[in-house]
Symmetry: C2
């Protein structure tokens, strides 16, 4: 079936295609009477303007790309939704890209975004972007459209960056927990592929550096595979013999922490009495675990607001800020409670964390 175009609408309405186009685009250079008539015809014929033709003629798309490290991580889903809400409110649209933590997929998506001539791209990932092929793709992308990166600053970036200071957040959190319990730590999950996990480890290391005897007996585990529930579980179970050396397990994300929690339970170790556990990201389910999990939380809306401002200013062709840094806060729940024995479970209202 041949689909309906502006020509069909123009003929049916007895006007020119220029007028149809003006109605479609909300131009005020159309009389109310003409506009109403044209809209009626559009509605009646079920006309939907061809976005390719429109974008081609205009020389740009009205869509902003949102690429995130993984849509299976709740923080990124919140970010996508907040950005979509804000972008839609400005009359533009969004295209979502799930990078699946894969540099191959990242490169595929950046090429796709270039072909689509998107209005701009917001890229949010903690995975390293400095591999040669990824870096080249990013620079090519930034040469085609405004780009904003959320999560990490690259030395050779020509684009604005918004991120959390995870070194400071980790150091502050580790410091606070070491004050409470002066014991060695097990750090779970730095990775050569993840920029953020490096930052998080670095912060913890700094806190331990001020306590050399604890640093000596602490362990930093590097993970090369996925950092998910199974890995958190496996890593803890495989270290069953040495766990009593530590006072805290510090995980680079909440998934690892949840897996660790399960493993500790199976091993008969109590949380927080024997070992405290803390994660990163503060996903929604943490208050509902038993024990509820503490985590380092980062405000989605603050980041989304900055990214949106940067991309809009960039689209307008104006100069954009270079870098914006946000801070995280620690959210204490049962897994880092300072207690010798568990209080009555209902007392804390932990589910309202």
């Amino acid at each position: 079936m041949k689909s309906i175009g502006v020509i069909d609408i123009a003929r049916e309405a007895g006007v020119s295609t220029a007028t149809v186009s003006r109605v479609l685009n909300g131009s005020d250079r159309v009389s109310d009477r003409t506009r109403a008539h044209v809209l009626e015809v559009i509605e009646r014929l079920g006309f939907s303007p061809n976005a390719s033709a429109s974008n081609l003629r205009r020389g740009r798309s009205d869509a902003i790309g949102i690429a995130v490290a993984s849509i299976s991580q709740p923080w990124y889903v919140k970010l996508i939704r907040e950005l979509r809400r804000a972008v839609t409110a400005r009359g533009m649209t969004t295209v979502v890209y799930d990078l699946e933590h894969s540099s191959r997929v990242l490169i595929e998506h950046t090429e796709s975004a270039r072909r689509l001539r998107l209005a701009g791209m917001i890229l949010a990932t903690g995975d390293r972007l400095d591999a040669a092929n990824v870096n080249a793709s990013l620079h090519r992308l930034a040469g085609s459209m405004p780009l904003v990166v959320i999560g990490q600053h690259l030395d050779d970036a020509t684009w604005p960056t918004v991120y959390f200071d995870d070194v400071a957040a980790s150091e502050a959190a580790a410091d606070e927990l070491l004050e409470r319990r002066s014991r060695p730590m097990l750090f779970l999950g730095s990775s050569a592929r993840s920029f953020l996990s490096d930052q998080r480890r670095e912060g913890v290391r700094r806190a331990l550096e001020a306590r050399p005897n604890l640093l000596r007996d602490s362990t930093f585990i590097q993970l090369d595979g996925p950092m998910d529930f199974a890995t958190g579980y496996d890593e803890v179970v495989s270290r069953a013999d040495e766990l009593r050396r530590y006072g805290l397990i510090f995980c680079v994300n909440d998934e690892l922490a949840l897996g660790a929690l399960r493993a500790l339970g199976e091993l008969g170790l109590r949380v927080p009495e024997d070992l405290m556990v803390i994660g990163y990201g503060d996903v929604d389910m943490l208050p509902y675990l038993t024990p509820s999990l503490s985590s380092l939380s980062g405000d989605v809306n603050a980041i989304a607001g900055d990214a949106l401002e940067a991309i809009m200013v960039g689209i307008a062709g104006e100069p954009v800020f270079d870098t914006r840094v946000h801070s995280r806060r620690i959210v204490h729940r049962e897994s880092t409670e300072d207690r010798a024995a568990r209080p009555p479970a209902t007392a804390e209202g932990a589910a309202r964390g």
Copy 2:
């Protein structure tokens, strides 16, 4: 900056734009020598073909839309990834739409898909699609491109449908659990807005119908808000006084079940000794909870395979099957274990469920 086009490539390579286009599209009507030369120029100038121009001229996009009820639910994320993998392997691309469980967003996205002249749309949701405005959008969409719906069959559907038989799955599961523990049930989460939750309740109801005395003392809770961790928690806490009446809490999704689990723990009720708990969806984290959560599992790949076949056949313009039905299986973990006292936690290897 004016971006590079086929004309620039043609001039630089000393060929016509027709030849450049043939190289871009992998036509075999180009000599190897010419092809290599043109590709070199494309690479050197960093040329990226304008998708709008290409789509406009071809009259179609090579992108398939994938719209899911919510990207915060892991099953849908798996579906998206499996579909993307398969679509990419066929040389096409995907566009992801997150419906956020909102009919308004669904309508926005279907209109957007029509404007983009997508090659086809795969829509996966358990939310009701029979409201007048949603239904009209779907029929308009199906009039514009091949459509496949995953999750529910509508009587007036003109498109193929793939779904799980959740009535049968719920009935079988409830039956099995009632055999083990002949006690009334608390069913959590049917909703006027969710087709799937209706199906799931219906299956449970049928299993109870064969046991009238249990049916009489069972309770079916309708939820109008979100069906998330907080709701599962709140609903159980607010029924603290009556919980001992029940032998099982049957939840329409895993999120509710997790919230319920936490609430039961706070109330001092043991799972599964006092109450069994089962969810729906079998998300990855369930084996790592304490106790690990039982759930009804559905195979993503089988559904994705059928949906992909249907959309591809539809794009080819050939007749497509009407309906394909898949079955779910129950995955037993600690929360439905038949036991009087908890065995040693390490015994079961639950984390490998």
